[in-house]
C-alpha cells in the first residue's frame, strides 16, 4: 500500500512538473494537488494494484506505435479509395484476462486504436468487437495483443 502511494506521488509530481514547468513557486499549488491526487488514486484502486514490467512496457510501446500507425494508414486508405472495401461485422472475442481487473479494461481500450477493430462491449467473459474487415485475421491479432498485455502486467499483492 505504502509503496503504491509512493509511486503515485512520483507519477503525479512528474505530471505536474511537465504541466507547470520548473518555477519553484508553482509547487505551492502543485504539492497539495499532487499529494491529494495520489491519495485519492490509491484509495480508489485499493490494494488491487498491478505492477508493470518495465521491459514489457517498452516492448509494448514499440508494438503499439507501429500498430497504431498501421491502423491509421489502413483506415485512411479505405476512406480515400473510390470503392470502399468494407466488410464490417461483430465478433465475440473470448477473454483470457479477468474482465473485472485493470488489464482487461486496458485491453478493451487499446482495441479501438489498433487496425480494423473497435471494442463495443466488455462483458463478463468476452469482449464484443466490431471489425471493419471480417476477412482480415482479427482473431489472431487480438490474441497477440492480449498476450503482450499479459506479459506487461504482473499481478500485484492483491492477486
Amino acid at each position: 500500500m505504502a509503496v503504491g502511494v509512493f509511486w503515485r506521488v512520483v507519477f503525479f509530481a512528474a505530471l505536474w512538473w511537465i504541466w507547470a514547468g520548473d518555477k519553484p513557486a508553482s509547487w505551492w499549488f502543485g504539492a497539495p494537488a499532487v499529494l491529494s491526487a495520489a491519495f485519492m488514486a490509491a484509495r480508489r484502486v485499493g490494494d488491487e494494484s498491478h505492477r508493470v514490467r518495465m521491459r514489457g512496457l517498452g516492448m509494448f510501446l514499440i508494438y503499439f506505435v507501429r500498430a497504431s500507425f498501421q491502423g491509421g494508414v489502413d483506415v485512411a486508405w479505405r476512406a480515400m479509395s473510390p470503392r470502399m472495401r468494407l466488410r464490417p461485422g461483430f465478433i465475440e472475442y473470448p477473454l483470457r484476462l479477468d474482465a473485472r481487473r485493470a488489464p482487461a479494461v486496458f485491453f478493451a481500450n487499446i482495441i479501438s486504436l489498433l487496425p480494423g477493430t473497435l471494442s463495443v462491449e466488455l462483458g463478463e467473459t468476452s469482449v464484443m468487437v466490431h471489425a471493419i474487415d471480417l476477412e482480415a485475421p482479427v482473431e489472431a491479432q487480438l490474441q497477440e495483443l492480449e498476450r503482450r498485455i499479459a506479459a506487461m502486467f504482473v499481478a500485484g499483492e492483491g492477486a
Binding site: 479505405r78 480515400m80 472495401r85 466488410r87 481500450n109 479501438s112
Partner: protein, 103 residues
C-alpha cells in the same frame, strides 16, 4: 541542417493534417456508426501523433516536447474511451451495423 529540420517538420505536419482530412472523409462516407467510429478514432490518433512529432522538431525546449507528448497521450485516452462509450451506447440502443459485402 536547420533548414532540413524545418522542412521535415512541415512535411510531417502536412501528412498529419492529411490524416485528419482522411478521418473526416471516412466519417462522411462510411455507412454506419461503427465504421465511422473506426475512421474517426484511428485517423485522428495518427494525425495527432504526426502533428505532435512535427511540432516537437520545432519546439524551443525539450520540456515543451514532453508537454506535447502528454497532449498526444491525453487525446489518445479520450479518443479510446469516448469511442468505446459511443459504440457501446449505439449497440445497447440497438443500432444495427451494416453487414458484409463490399459497400
Amino acid at each position: 541542417m536547420e533548414g532540413v529540420r524545418e522542412a521535415l517538420a512541415v512535411g510531417v505536419m502536412v501528412l498529419g493534417a492529411l490524416f485528419f482530412v482522411a478521418g473526416s472523409v471516412g466519417m462522411l462516407r462510411f455507412p454506419d456508426v461503427y465504421t465511422r467510429l473506426h475512421a474517426l478514432t484511428k485517423a485522428d490518433n495518427l494525425g495527432m501523433g504526426l502533428l505532435v512529432f512535427g511540432l516537437s522538431l520545432q519546439a524551443p525546449g525539450w520540456q515543451l516536447v514532453l508537454k506535447l507528448v502528454l497532449i498526444w497521450i491525453f487525446v489518445m485516452i479520450a479518443g479510446a474511451i469516448s469511442c468505446h462509450l459511443v459504440a457501446r451506447e449505439a449497440y445497447r440502443q440497438g443500432v444495427k451495423p451494416e453487414q458484409g459485402g463490399d459497400l
